[in-house]
Symmetry: C2
Subunit: 149 residues, 2 copies
């Protein structure tokens, strides 16, 4: 199985019987969408990255990327590579000189970091097949900014 | 002016007319306490670090420190070095081989990272003098765990 590139459509809230849940939606090359439910704090951070919103003070992911840059470390790729028991897993690959490192991370952190570092996001085919949904099968989503503004 | 070492007493909520506000309390060598109001997400992260609570998935600050360690970067010191218009500023100093870096950060991020990396926390004397308070002058604080449990 290989990986496919994905792009971040945006951060949304889905309203369910239990309340509003933030999610990041990824566009897959197949035309399907991969929704991943995430925490509100991470949703705001991803939304800021998408909108190039600079906070008056550096957020945690801003600090993260600034620290990597100060040591000449590049984020190479985020790969969302597993889905087990409803939990998505991801690996953040980075490089410094000829040394590569790969670290387990939550997809929400990885997306917030990859967007800031302008690094590509990839999805394992198995994950895309299991969790990718057709547009008409997506739950109803409201743009995060509707809630934040 | 120099710096003095500080230790983290814990994370608390203060109840005010406007509602409950999370704060981290630092013990100063003078016996005074430095309260810094922080976000709830950062408060939970600091609380987890203090209690060595391992999350089922790495939190953002866990990933941050894991990434630094994977590249042989050590956190040298967090210094809370300024207080302007009610906003605390901090600098996170780190080292790799003979290369040192210093980055501007929010004290809440810096404390969450320093605790995980077992790095010392220092306060500029000017900040301690401006914002350090005697025990009896502290607002009423409730332990964060009271709210979380």
């Amino acid at each position: 199985m290989g990986v496919m590139d994905a792009s971040v459509r945006g951060v949304f809230f889905t309203t369910s019987a239990g309340g509003a849940v933030p999610a990041v939606l990824l566009n897959l090359p197949s035309g399907k969408t991969l929704p991943i439910y995430i925490g509100l704090w991470e949703a705001i951070s991803i939304n800021n990255a998408l909108n190039d919103d600079l906070l008056p003070r550096p957020g945690t992911h801003d600090l993260f990327v600034a620290m990597l840059e100060s040591y000449g470390i590049s984020v190479k790729r985020l790969t969302i590579d597993d889905l087990r028991d409803g939990v998505f897993y991801a690996t953040l690959a980075s490089v410094r000189g000829d040394g590569e490192e790969s670290l387990d991370c939550r997809p929400s952190d990885g997306i917030a970091i990859a967007l800031r570092a302008r690094a590509p996001i990839a999805i394992e085919e198995m994950v895309a097949e299991k969790a990718g949904v057709e547009e008409e099968d997506l739950p109803e989503f409201v743009d995060l900014s509707t809630y934040l503004s």
